[in-house]
Amino acid sequence: MRPFTYERAETADEALALHAGGDVHYLGGGTNLVDLMRLGVARPERLVDVTRLPFDRIETTGDGGLVIGAAVRNSDLAADRAVREHHPALAQAVLSGASGQIRNQATVGGNLLQRTRCSYFQNVTKPCNKREPGSGCPARDGEHHNHAILGHTANCVATHPSDMAVALLALDASVRIRGRAGERVIRLNDFYRLPGDDPARDTTLEPGDLVTAVEVPPLGMPSRYRKVRERASFAFALVSIAAALDVEDGTIRGCRVALGGVAHRPWRARRAEEALRGAPATETSYLRAAHAEMENAHPLRGNRYKVQLATNLIVRTLSGLGDGS
């Protein structure tokens, strides 16, 4: 690992000032960054520790709305009463990620900014357009059973690994950012990006930008997170779903569907949502919605199974929510 200097920021202004110049990374829990440094994927010359900034609280805004500080630990988010009662999908998503140890260390801001676990990205002896722009993407024709089926390009077929971000996307969350030009709030939907011709960038953040909080508006309908993986626990998603459903007199009044493990970013299933709105709350509607979303899927040679898996997961999860189970 390359030697680096370590600075601890006490305020957001101080963090921004310390971030200026050179290859500098903010340090949260470090559960992804320290590993990437050990692998040689990240080689910062300075770390700015932002875990002691005053962003470690969860505020409720009434009706179940939340403002979650970026330094809140994942385990505290999942244990929070308001989160568990008003946004069970968010608590379940956080709890389905990593291990008890890692959730104690990891922060909300760091979770949003974790990097893909694509094995080529994590291996500095291999080409990777995300790690080394222009070097190529061996995953496209190589080992890609857990890579993207939606929104990918020839440049990059990696997936975003976060569970929490999938739930936050379904919940229409926004991200509070302190940047060199001041504070701004952007929708999580505009925070993440598809690879396009610049797969090195996971998000729309500018250099020095510091995530300070996540805002979650009230939801007012039951929600659920489900995750399919290769072992029962402590593994990344093959496919996951965050869904919410509001049914009145057998008709779907409102719904949210977001998928994980299928794209370079958490994937909001807008086509499925469109098909569901106003439809009868039946399995036929759920299946039609799933097909509407998966029509656009372009699976790779080794991950065709994900199309069927995502379809089944959409139908099963919406059926459960529709039955109130």
Binding site: L47, A91, S99, I102, Q105, A232
Partner: protein, 196 residues
């Protein structure tokens, strides 16, 4: 590999204080050093083990500020002032903790390499259950969880045992939970479990 400096840049050190098992230590550490390496190589506390060094196996689990954590992923320099409990600090003098005693009674290990991490993780697990923290297998995430076998297995999924002693590890944690009155399992169940 980990400690090899191929960049040619000189190492950077920083002064920190750690309180480990109740004893304060002041030391200058390389900014790259993990808590695990500092505990093992600087303080001679070799109970915590290095398995994967990537946060995947749990052999390095320690309790930092009352919470279980992977020592291998924690930079020491970021933990100035932290209170740490390692496996060496679980017993009260010569008296094993109820969980440690349950591991012995249940023969909850074979080679023992993962055991320090299992013990630290399970000690914190009981505390988390006591505080009513749910897990992903809790049917109603808003309700108080009951610490049954599925819950214990899920909550220990960050600790790998390559000998496969899981059956006895789960039983030991159940016994300790019952003795400490955690999450609804009573003594009679536990006694029956031991006898059975």
């Amino acid at each position: 590999m980990d400690s090899v400096n191929i960049s040619g840049d000189p190492p950077v050190t920083a002064e920190i204080t750690l309180v480990v098992n109740g004893t304060e230590h002041r030391l200058a550490v390389d900014t790259r050093a993990s808590l695990l390496d500092v505990l093992r190589e600087r303080l001679g506390l070799t109970g915590s083990k290095k398995g994967c060094d990537h946060g995947q196996c749990g052999a390095c689990t320690i309790i930092v500020g009352g919470r279980r954590a992977n020592g291998c992923l924690a930079l020491a320099v970021a933990h100035d002032g932290a209170e740490i409990v390692t496996v060496e600090g679980l017993a009260d003098g010569g008296e094993l903790s109820p969980l440690q005693a349950a591991f012995v009674e249940r023969d909850a290990f074979q080679c023992g390499y993962c055991t320090p991490g299992q013990l630290c993780a399970a000690t914190a697990l009981l505390d988390e259950a006591e505080r009513g923290w749910p897990s992903v297998v809790t049917a109603d995430v808003a309700a108080e969880p009951e610490l049954d076998e599925d819950e214990i297995r899920e909550r220990l999924s960050g600790n790998i045992c390559r000998c496969g002693a899981y059956v006895n590890i789960v039983a030991a944690v159940q016994d300790a939970a019952a003795r400490q009155g955690v999450a609804g399992r009573d003594e009679a169940d536990a006694r029956q479990g031991v006898a059975g």
